[in-house]
Symmetry: C2
Subunit: 342 residues, 2 copies
């Protein structure tokens, strides 16, 4: 390693009780990892922070393995290859993978995917062309199953996933309503992303009445990122045969005991509605198609995106915590380094 | 009308607040109805009381129209034709239809279905070969979508619907667990109906732990008749890709405000489970097949049934209220009259 002798890495310092804070994270110096045969050393350029990571802070079996105490945190990274013991990669290649919250990380070549730095900004591989974009794609199109003319409602609509959901629904010929947390975001949805209507959940006092105003025909598809009172209101406005795609429940992720709310199952009988959870990984065999199509829509200006980029690895905890404050628009990223001059 | 000059009819005397009671119903004398062209006069033999009728007592739009105040109650009836102005029916024919809680009712011939009194006891057309049997058939097979080897859990398992669900699941090669409200019912499920296990929800203090004992591999299909704490426990034990068919929520029907409980949607993400409500009427085009198959299984002794029969029209309110006490086994019926000697 010519460039550096040290590496900075975030560890899980303690498992949070309720809302995580600065004490949840510890930034330590570690050696730059040694490579085994078949490994690749990656310098982090962008690190993704995502709501699902709250679940990995718990010591509990779930779809993503719990993070271990005093061990490095992991997440989506776009980086560049510094050193390669794998035939498919060479120094300078841009790659994406699940790596550490660190300046440098080693990975088996099989766990990295090359990306073309000339095709789209590298950061998009963690957002609109990455896991969040694909989550929107499969959750809406395969689970929500929208038909032209349907009314589609999405919560956390100005976020990395929700903003793509709404635009895909518009492309699919649907009427689109988004819930978002400020007037600025609501305007962004309607004026920049082509949503038919947006509801500011911070200022609306009756979500169901707000829905009646903008979606008087009821709701055919609900893409749920948040859970809680917004979801409660949408359930009261589901049409016959409605589909609910459960993607996330961010409003509940920091609850330590099981939160309570209105019982909803009775609603499903009268409406014959279907509620289904999903994980994007279940659609892995079709990732390539989804990424290609999303890229084409981005190129054509049919899908727009924003990114909120925090500077420096040390800003990662704050960037993660900001997800739960909901005051940012678009994909939340941490920029860790610039691409090396070539 | 030679046989009688009077007719007794139950009216909805008031809309109950919470649990209905004797004041909800009023038994009055009315004339035997006059027939218009195309009508048929039916003498009630058996009247069905069903949990969904609680919903019809509310002044609120739902899948079954609200009953009007001071007007006759309606429900499934097996009867015999007394007089016919319709070419398809003649005096003495046995028929089934949605008629009044009355000794005599008139109906358009189109709204009645003839039944063969030699094929099965007439009462079964309100139970195992009627709406409850078909509800079990379509809810389990079309919504629950069981595969051989699946573990199927059914609540209210000794009732008219649940008992058929469990036996159909057994026929479909599944392992079957039923929740029921007494040791007698639990024994009935395992010893007479071939369930693999039964949980007495009145004596079990931890439903989830009870499930772990008898279904250590988790739950693949849950057929929900009751809602509330049993359903809460089953949700914590759903397997990946599980299906929940929401048929009824009898534990909640007498609640006047929206009941609260643990929020469940987060569970669906990790499990990718699907929760879907249904109404048996949506499957009307396949009713004939379902009824024929159910009849064959009953004939072959593969599906057994019990009926709890109250005597006399005046016992109908008590028979209805008993549904919510859950102390009866099988289909709850009211016997209003014997078939006329022929």
């Amino acid at each position: 390693m010519a460039e550096t002798a040290t590496n900075r890495v975030f560890l899980l310092a303690e498992r949070p009780d309720g809302v995580p804070d600065a004490d949840t994270f510890e930034l330590v110096e570690r050696d730059v990892p040694e490579l085994s045969d078949g490994d690749v050393l990656v310098r982090t350029l962008y690190l993704s922070v995502d709501p699902y990571m709250r679940g990995r802070m718990r010591d509990r079996e779930s779809y993503a393995d719990p993070w271990a105490l005093d061990e490095p945190l992991e997440g989506g990274v776009v980086g560049e290859v510094v050193e390669s013991n794998h035939a498919a990669f060479e120094r300078g290649d841009a790659v994406v993978g699940n790596l550490q919250w660190a300046e440098y990380a080693a990975a088996a070549g099989e766990d990295l995917r090359p990306v073309d730095p000339d095709l789209a900004p590298l950061s998009t591989h963690l957002g609109v062309l990455g896991m969040p974009g694909r989550t929107a794609y499969f959750g809406l199109l395969r689970v929500g199953d929208p038909e032209p003319g349907d009314t589609v409602v999405v919560s956390a609509a100005s976020g990395a996933v929700g903003s793509v959901v709404g635009q895909l629904a518009r492309i699919a010929g649907c009427r689109v309503v988004g819930f978002a947390g400020s007037d600025e975001k609501a305007t962004y949805l309607t004026d920049e992303l082509g949503f038919d209507a947006a509801i500011n959940y911070e200022t609306a006092d009756d979500y169901a009445a707000a829905l009646d105003d903008v979606a008087p025909g009821g709701v055919d598809v609900y893409f749920d990122n948040v859970g809680g009172p917004i979801t409660d209101a949408v359930f009261t406005r589901l049409n016959e045969g409605a589909r609910v795609a459960v993607c996330g429940q961010i409003s509940l992720y920091n609850e330590e005991s099981v939160p309570t709310g209105p019982r909803k199952l009775g609603t499903l009988i009268q409406t014959r509605a279907r509620v289904e959870g999903f994980l994007v990984g279940d659609f892995a065999s079709d990732f390539e198609t989804a990424t290609r199509r999303l890229g084409e829509w981005v190129d054509a200006g049919e899908i727009r995106y924003r990114e909120t980029i925090a500077e420096g690895l040390e800003s990662a905890p704050d960037a993660f915590l900001a997800l739960f404050e909901g005051d940012k628009i678009g994909k939340q990223l941490v920029k860790v380094a610039d691409r090396a001059a070539e």
